[in-house]
Amino acid sequence: MSFLQPLLLAALPLIALPILIHLINQRRFQTIRWGAMMFLLAANRMSRGYAKLRQWLILLFRTLAIAGLIFGVARPLASGWLGLTAGGRPDTTIILLDRSPSMRQQGEGQAGTKLDTGRHQLARSLSLLGSAKWVLIESTTNTPREIESPDVLMNLPATEPASSSADLPAMLQAARDYIQANKSGRTEVWICSDIRANDWNAESGRWATLRDAFLELTQGVRFHLLAYPQAAAGNMSLRVTNVRRQQGSDGAELLVSLKLTREGVADDAEKVSVPVSFEIEGARSEASVEMTGSQFELKDHRIPIERQKDRGWGKVSIPADANSADNDFYFVFDQPAVRQTIIVADDANAARPLQLSAAISPDPALKLAAEVLTVDQLPTVEWDQVSLVLWQAPLPDGPAADVIQTFVDRGGQIVFFPTQAVTSTSFAGASWQSWVETPDGIAIETWRGDQDLLAHTQSGAALPVGQLQVRKHCGLSGEHIPLATLKGGTPLLARVTTNRGGVYFCATTPAMADSSLAENGVVLYVLVQRALALGAAVLGNTRQLVSGDVSGEQPTAWQQVAGPPEALSTEFAFHGGVYSAGERLLALNRGSAEDQAAVLADGRVAELFQGLDFARVDDKAGNLAALIQEIWRLFLVAMIIALIVEAALCLPKKVSQVVSA
């Protein structure tokens, strides 16, 4: 139990008052000379059970009455928030609100979503507790903003549900920075979240740093977690995996591939029919899919469109279920832009296979162009139209390096190949070392098949990377992530960490003398095409974006084309929908991690806050009962009952006249 006025509990020793008065009264006895001692002696010899018990009961009820009064005025709270207010009113209360799509999940048979319930509970509970200052950090911006009172949580647009995922470590970091910057006194941090694994990112190294940072704070910081960990059984989520426009002889059509995921059902669950609704710029159509397991993929669903419609937007929906946030998916389509590759090569033998792999289109609808240039010709390139750079020359230096860096920052992809003349120049922290020749060839020992350029194909088959033979390779120094390594641990393909874009280093060249990349062209072709596709994704007039991650765009200039009408223009970046930015169309959707319903285990959450003052309470979406409520009335009633019982016990017994005169 907690108290709003815990300082008043200091008066608790007053409950000893009746006992003290009793003792004092005992000492203030009167003396009388008495004749009828025989009756007193007889009375003393009799059993004193009830009389003694009555005295103790009277004392007990007097004590209880005072205790009831003291507890009553200390304003007790009935709640699960253990140790709620150890020191009374806090100086600052920081509310961390998880607005991620999963918080829109509704409780079973309840109308309210997790977010609504959480906001409501926080508003009610925190209003009761009080604080000198209120600060809200919501999950889209992770920026502290001071609010007037917790009541505004109910109608503040910044607390409405969003499509972007939360980043709890970043939110806590923001809270910590706020506490440090404002030198706030005793602080309470209230976290309202559904503790989804993707939002909490429990494996992140930031947690340990955060813990230490909070432990260093001298003012007491107390964490309260209002958790909504219930999974939505049977919730279905929808994700469009691919949209292509195809021009046929008799018209144009869209090929939409999508994926349906059902939560909490076995693979052999009974068949359900899901009506999938497609909307292409207002024109609706519907398709019903039969789904048996937990996942279903619809490949290339054809939707006819007007022949002259080159670009546009669409929306796929499924009927409402436990979580309304994952029932819609927006997409945009356009005539694919020409995927242009710039090849900067010293060695013509190496340049040719690269040019071929970059120029041959895997799809007739795609137009590819590859141009071989020298370093000197770089200033003439229109970089806005380039998707990929294949660099088989000494690492760029000076102005060339700046140009390449700008290209990468814009989201472009570049793959570096070594040249015969190794220089000490480095790019993005990595540089070439000396060449190593192995005339017999070295096989590739390991490569990453789960992601990036050498990932398995969509059917799950591995690329024939193991069949490659490398006869000559160049060492690589600097910080990098190996994607493929030769026997002996030397990296063959590595990626350097960048904010945007992709910088890859391939330790050999496709020249016949160096490797079998050209002979066994599959790997080279896939590698180049994948890099090309990544680079092309940021170009063109349409773009698929993940909500909350809109780097390179100007959300403030966006116009909403489709999407939730309640979304504010300042928050377009966090609400799924279709937006126009000038001539370009952008489709914004929740991140793919949001479709994974994994929730952090209780023990893991406790571990994250280990050493910190942390209390957790689990609530349910739609819960109408207040988390905390004042129960001083109960104590006053208890006090009154105690007083009545005490009075009844004190009533003198009707004395019967023993000896009548």
């Binding site: 005992q26 004749g35 009828a36 007193l40 009799m46 000896v659 005169a661």
Partner: protein, 303 residues
């Protein structure tokens, strides 16, 4: 009577004059030494015919009933009842507990009033009056005698006696039962704070000696009601250990003990045919005595 003396504090002349209207009677035949107004166990020379008895040689010829002889040709002697005076022995408890009184009058003062009045009334009707002041033994003892001078002595002793020491009522009563000549009116004034079972023996002893026994039990209202509010330390007036008690806590049991004692005492006095009068000190002694005297007239002694 009080011409040259200070009036006795325990005598109320008004009350005495009113009480004088009712005679002090004995419930059973008394054995006095002079003629009086009380029935005697023996035949005597009163005017009240008792019986005819056959003449036996040695009888006084003057008592032959000649008329009866004339009718029946047999000698009969005519007998009459004898009237005698009584010996009133007042046993006054002067133990420490008799000094208690919460109504402005102590038990001993109240007892003095009853004793003085009874002595005066008995003396007025020619009865002999004696007084035994008892505590842990017989403190003062004056045997029954008649005459105003003796009454003055009784009053003097009554005036001088002071309550002290503990009660040894039981052995004292046994002793008095033996020492007082048979067939006397014995009036005991005490609070009788002794076990009723022990008292039973004494009373039976007195009854066996053909005494007419009356008991006045003097109790203070506070002793009966026990209505204390604050914790009290009770100091034994007879020198026993003090007791500390919370009245609220002990009152119930005190009343129980008192009730049990009263029931047992009543049983004992009924079995012993004792004229028992429980008295609380807030009552008028005149009324108590009037009740006593009137009650006795109804049960006037048979021969």
């Amino acid at each position: 009577m009080f011409a040259d003396r200070q009036p006795r504090s325990f005598l109320d002349t008004g009350a005495l004059s009113r009480l004088a209207a009712v005679p002090l009677c004995a419930r059973r035949p008394m054995q006095g030494n002079v003629s009086g107004r009380h029935t005697s166990p023996h035949r005597g020379a009163s005017v009240e015919f008792a019986e005819y008895r056959k003449y036996v040689p040695g009888d006084d010829l003057r008592r032959l009933d000649w008329r009866a002889y004339g009718r029946s040709d047999r000698f009969y002697v005519k007998e009459f009842e004898a009237d005698t005076n009584l010996r009133l022995c007042v046993v006054l408890d002067t133990s420490g507990s008799m000094d208690f009184g919460s109504t402005g009058v102590t038990k001993i003062e109240y007892a003095r009033k009853i004793t003085g009045s009874l002595a005066y009334l008995a003396s007025q009707q020619g009865d002999a009056v004696g007084l035994s002041c008892v505590a842990n033994g017989i403190v003062r003892n004056i045997p029954p005698k008649r005459g105003p001078a003796h009454l003055m002595n009784v009053f003097d002793i009554l005036e001088q006696t002071q309550p002290s020491s503990e009660t040894q009522l039981v052995p004292v009563l046994h002793e008095l039962a033996e020492t007082i000549r048979q067939r006397a009116l014995i009036v005991i004034l005490s609070d009788f704070f002794v076990e009723p079972e022990l008292l039973r023996g004494c009373l039976q002893h007195l009854r066996f000696r053909k005494h007419d026994v009356s008991m006045f039990q003097l109790l203070d209202p506070l002793e009966l009601n026990f209505n204390f509010r604050r914790p009290m330390r009770f100091i034994d007036m007879e020198g026993g250990p003090a007791i500390f008690a919370e009245p609220n806590e002990i009152a119930d049991r005190y009343q129980k003990a008192l009730q049990k004692y009263a029931d047992e005492l009543l049983a004992v006095v009924l079995e012993s045919a004792v004229d028992f009068h429980p008295v609380t000190l807030d009552e008028s002694f005149e009324q108590v005595l009037m009740r006593f005297l009137v009650g006795r007239t109804r049960t006037k002694g048979v021969r």
